[in-house]
Structure formats: structure tokens, C-alpha cells
Amino acid sequence: MRKIFGWIGIFAAVLFGLSIIQGPVQAQIKIGVAGPISGPYAKFGEQLIRGARAAAEEINKAGGINGQKIEIIPGDDACDPKQARAVANRLVNQGVHAVAGHFCSSSTIPASEVYDEANILMITPASTNPKVTDRRLPTVFRVCGRDDQQGDVAGDYIANVMKAKRVAIIHDKDTYGQGLANATRDRLHKNGVTEVLYEGITRGDKDFNSLVTKMKGLKVDVIYFGGLHVEAGLIVRQAREQGLKAIFFSGDGIVSNEFPAIAGPATDGVLMTFGADPRKIPSAASAVAAFRAGGYEPEAYTLYAYTAIQVIAQALKANNNSKDGTRLAKYIKRTTFDTVMGPKQFDSKGDLKVSDYVVYKWSPTGGGKFDYSQIK
């Protein structure tokens, strides 16, 4: 008899323990935010988290979604595809309503499969590889442009405005970097420019001197690089050290204040394509002011993450906080969203109907600092 009481006691204790764990959390709406919070690309992860947190705070202050508050659950994929899958599984198990992420295309693609299986809505603020939406997973969206659109702008600019003849195309063999490089190459071919060099480097390498010497031998006018800011900074710096004056052109992967820090004085004159600066959109003014008041400059992807959360929140609101990704997706595809970055509409694949890539130029602002501004 005593034994039975003992078992009942344990049973009761376990039940009690479970109810404590589950109790207070249920009133929240969990939204996962996944990206490279650690690793060499941690700067971008910080932008996503900052943007998402600010949006969530704003929405919570206004009463939340149908009376429930948003809770942001961060997930760190370090831009590693394997870790991205694991993070995606963890977020699904934690019961998130939707996910704003991931950052690197190579992480977003495997992670999106996990969300698709679990029927969870995913909106990436930053992954621009065409494959993200070209696989037509029903619950996958993005609030940024696509590399083929970005490559078109870069390819046209190099061929028609710069009128360059000897172009070297370098990429980092990653889904994003190579995708962007290929898109630019295709556009250049259409414009009648054939590249003199097309090669891939390895992420994590530090020494690109032999590549630079080779480009010097080929007398290139323009180096187009598809990749991220760490390698971009090293390549352009080593090019200038060797006296190679070719103009360096890259994509939105170098939009970070770490890029000028790594490249040093070589930053001057570097070109890149990026969406029209979201900070300068009138509807973003109050959000930008709030960021700056908190001592943070909302550069690059910060406002994209903000937008992703706003779209998620509005979709949840209109669908009674449903977790059903397919239902949310159907709503998103037929609705116009009013976001900090202006009105946004999505097509049947989950891409934005209107993309707004323009060419930017890095130039010194005095005191060894650099900033980018749109080329008129």
C-alpha cells in the first residue's frame, strides 16, 4: 500500500512540474528569428534580432496580436546549413507560430524544408538566392529582392554605364555568392560582355594574393565578387596593396560596417547593389528615429527584419492567431501589407512584386570612416 502511495506521489509531482513548465508561456505568440548570431557573419544576425525585437515591441505596445503578446525566440544557425536544419527543428518543437529568417541562402533553403513539413510560415528578410522561392514551397516568403534581379542591375551597370571590357567574376562557392555571380554573368553575356576570369574562392581563407596577381596579369577593369564582406574586404585590400586599380563591385553581402574596417582605405570607390536604402523611405522615419534614440543605427537588414515581423503579425491578426502556415500563406498572397518599408505585395511564388535594387558607392566620410550612398 505504501508503495502505491509513493507512486501516486511521484505521479502527482511530475504532473505538477509539467503544469508549472507549461503554465505562463501559453499566453504568448512565439515568433522565431533565425540567422548567424555567432560566427564570422554575426553582424548580420544582430541586425535581424534588433529589427525583429523592435517590431515586436512596437506591436506589443499597441496591444499585441488579438490581445496576445509577441515573444521573439532567437535561433543561431551561424550560416551553417547543418546547424540551420537543427535550429529549424528546435524552433518547430518550441511551437513557434512563424519564423522570420534565415539569413544566408545556404541556410534558408534546408531550413525552409523543415518549416514546410511542419506547415509553419517562414519569411526571410535577407536570402536573395532564386532557389529560396523557386522551389515553390507554399509557406516560404521573402521581403527582399532576388539575386537575378540584383545581378541584372549589376550586369547592366557594368556593361552600359561603366562600359567595362575586361571583367573578372569571383564567387565564394556558396549558394548566395555563386548564385549572385552567375546572375551577373548571364546579364553581362546578354549585354555582349564576356568575362576574362570566372573562379571560386574558399570561405575562411585569408590569402588571395595569387588570385590578385592573376587578375593583374589579365589586366581586369572590374572585379565582380559574389560573396560576403569578410572575404570581399580581404580581396579588395590585397588588390590595392598589389597596385591593382580595377573597380571592385559586389552585392548586398558586403552591406556591413565591418566591410570598411576590414578593407581599410581600399573601401574608397567600391560599388555594390542593394535595395534602395530603407532608412530613407518616409514610412520608416519613426522606426529609424526610435532605433537611433536607443543608440543603434538600423543599417542593412535591420528594417527588413522589422518588415518581416510586421507581415507575420498582420497575417496572424487576420487569421485568429492560427498556426496553419498554408492558411497564412494564402492570406499573404492576396493582401497588400502596410510596412515600415512602404506597401508590400507578394506574388504566387512568395517573392515581392516590386524589387528596388540600385547601385551604391562607398566613399570616405573623414576620420578614416566610410559610408555608402546611392549613385544618382
Binding site: A42, K206, N209, K214, L234, G243, A261
Partner: protein, 312 residues
């Protein structure tokens, strides 16, 4: 457009690029090869020691500046000494904590312990210093150029790159003298040949092994400082890639042999640079490792390695 001198100039520049890269690999490889030579284990935490030295260098240089040392050469000299000592201490502690308690156990135990140590150090730096890429200021910018023909045709080497090659050569000579011509070196060689016997002859082998780790770590610190100087940026993950390349260099040259580590580093650096420069960048690592496999097929102990004699 091309003049006749062009291909030659490019080739000469690629040789210099390869030589610099090779010197860097060689400097790190020495740490692997010394430890293997003395106690027959591979110290996988060595790449992390190199990474830590980069951080220490940057931190101490900033600190020395804060304490009001305004002369750059003096500041550099103080930083250099402090970094060498502290990195040496790291090497000493790693051996004391992770390897000495396992001496006499199976060969695999210290290997696993080394991998664990490498993860511990990497995450320690990640958590204490953050994940961001760290930036090092530009000091001693300058370049030597030999022009041939026109103004734009030149072969060049920056001051820092020249320093890398110079320091590598000096370190090699100093180490060789230390090992081959001093009582300390004799104790090292005796420990390498037969640890028990050396102990019986009155050599404190534990101290010799500790010293090996300190010297290995100091060499990694030399490499770490020079590379930080050269690339001006580093993060907590640089030890991994550099460690793998240096380990490859050590195996290629014959692990256990100090001149072998240097030779292996230079061959690896030249192979990578020439292949990337003359053929294709995508496959440079494939080519470098293919070269390693080929050498090991014909010489299993590496280029300068001695066949291992089974000790009974």
C-alpha cells in the same frame, strides 16, 4: 597589350606569394612537428593557440597604448615580449591540464583530449571576445617594388611580407641551434629517442616536454603576430583553417622533423599559389591535398621524415 616581360613578372610574383604563404604555414607547422617528435602525439589545440596569440597581440598593443607608450617600435617590442610569454603560458597550461594526466594511457586518449581542448579554447574566445571579426590597425605600411620596363610592370613585396620571410628564416636557424647544439637540445633529443632511459640518466623528461609545448606555442605566437600584422583582421575561427593547413605541411615535410615542417610549409604554399595563379582557384585545395596523398604514397613518413623504429 602584353609585353614580353609580363608572364615572367607574373610568375615571379606568384613565387613570392607562395613563399610568404608557405612561411606562414611552416611557422605554425613547427609546433605540431616538435610535439610529435618528442611525445608522438598530435596537438590539435595548436591552431587555437595561434588564434589566441592574435587576440593577445591586439589586446596588449591597445593596452600598451593606453599606458602612454607613444613610440611605435617600443610599444611593439613590449607587446611582442608579453604576447610571447603569455602564449607560452597557454601552451604550458594546455599540456599540464589536458595531456600530462593522460601520459602512459592509450595513444588515442591524448588525441581526443587535444580535440576537446581545441573546442574549449575556441569557445572560450568566442564567449569572452564575441564573434565579430576583429580589426588590427595598419602599422608599417610600405612596399618594395622592382619595376621592369614600364611603370606598371613590377614585382613587389610589402615590408610585412618581407618581415614574415625574414623572421621565419631566423626562427628556423635559432631552433636548429637550440636542438642540435645546446645541452637543452640534447635533453630533448634524448627524450625523443627513449623517454624511460633519459629519465634514468637524470633528465627531467616532464620538464623537457613542458618546454617543448612552450617553444611550440611561442612559435605559434610569432606566426600569429606576423599574420595579424599582414591581414589586419582575425576572428575566433582562424585557428581551424590555419591548423589544418599547418598540420598538412608538417605531415608533408615529415612529421617530427623541424626542417621538414618548414620545407612542407613552403612546398604547400608554393603549390597552392602556383596552382591558383596559373590554373584555377576553385581547385587549389584539391591540388594541395592531392600532392600530400601522392607524397605519402611514395614516402609514407613525409619528405624528411625518419621511418619510425618500433620501441620495445
Amino acid at each position: 597589350m602584353f609585353t614580353i616581360g609580363d608572364p615572367l613578372i607574373i610568375l615571379a610574383q606568384q613565387l613570392i606569394n607562395g613563399l610568404i604563404l608557405g612561411s606562414i604555414y611552416g611557422l605554425i607547422a613547427i609546433g605540431y612537428t616538435m610535439v610529435y617528435g618528442i611525445i608522438g602525439m598530435i596537438n590539435f589545440a595548436h591552431g587555437e593557440i595561434y588564434m589566441i596569440s592574435s587576440y593577445l597581440f591586439a589586446i596588449f598593443l591597445a593596452l600598451v597604448g593606453l599606458f602612454g607608450v607613444s613610440s611605435v617600435p617600443v610599444a611593439l617590442l613590449i607587446t611582442l615580449v608579453v604576447t610571447l610569454v603569455i602564449t607560452g603560458l597557454y601552451g604550458f597550461s594546455v599540456e599540464r591540464i589536458a595531456y600530462r594526466p593522460l601520459r602512459g594511457s592509450s595513444r588515442l586518449a591524448p588525441l581526443i583530449s587535444a580535440i576537446g581542448m581545441s573546442l574549449v579554447l575556441q569557445n572560450f574566445v568566442l564567449l569572452s571576445q564575441g564573434a565579430n571579426t576583429q580589426i588590427f590597425p595598419s602599422i608599417y605600411e610600405g612596399v618594395l617594388r622592382w619595376s621592369m620596363g614600364s611603370k606598371d610592370n613590377f614585382v613587389q613585396i610589402t615590408y610585412i611580407q618581407a618581415m614574415i620571410i625574414g623572421v621565419t628564416v631566423v626562427s628556423m636557424i635559432a631552433l636548429n641551434i637550440l636542438i642540435n647544439h645546446t645541452p637543452l637540445g640534447r635533453a630533448c633529443r634524448a627524450t625523443q629517442q627513449d623517454r624511460t632511459m633519459a629519465n634514468l640518466m637524470g633528465i627531467n623528461t616532464d620538464r623537457v616536454i613542458s618546454l617543448t609545448f612552450v617553444i611550440g606555442a611561442a612559435m605559434a605566437a610569432v606566426a600569429g603576430m606576423l599574420i595579424t600584422f599582414n591581414f589586419k583582421s582575425f576572428d575566433f575561427f582562424i585557428g581551424f583553417v590555419a591548423g589544418i593547413k599547418a598540420f598538412t605541411a608538417a605531415v608533408l615535410g615529415g612529421i617530427g622533423s623541424i626542417p621538414g615542417a618548414m620545407l612542407g610549409g613552403i612546398i604547400l604554399g608554393l603549390a597552392e599559389s602556383l596552382f591558383a595563379g596559373l590554373v584555377n582557384t576553385d581547385y587549389k585545395d584539391v591540388f594541395a591535398f592531392g600532392l600530400l596523398v601522392t607524397v605519402l604514397v611514395f614516402r609514407p613518413t613525409g619528405i624528411l621524415g625518419q621511418p619510425e623504429v618500433e620501441k620495445i
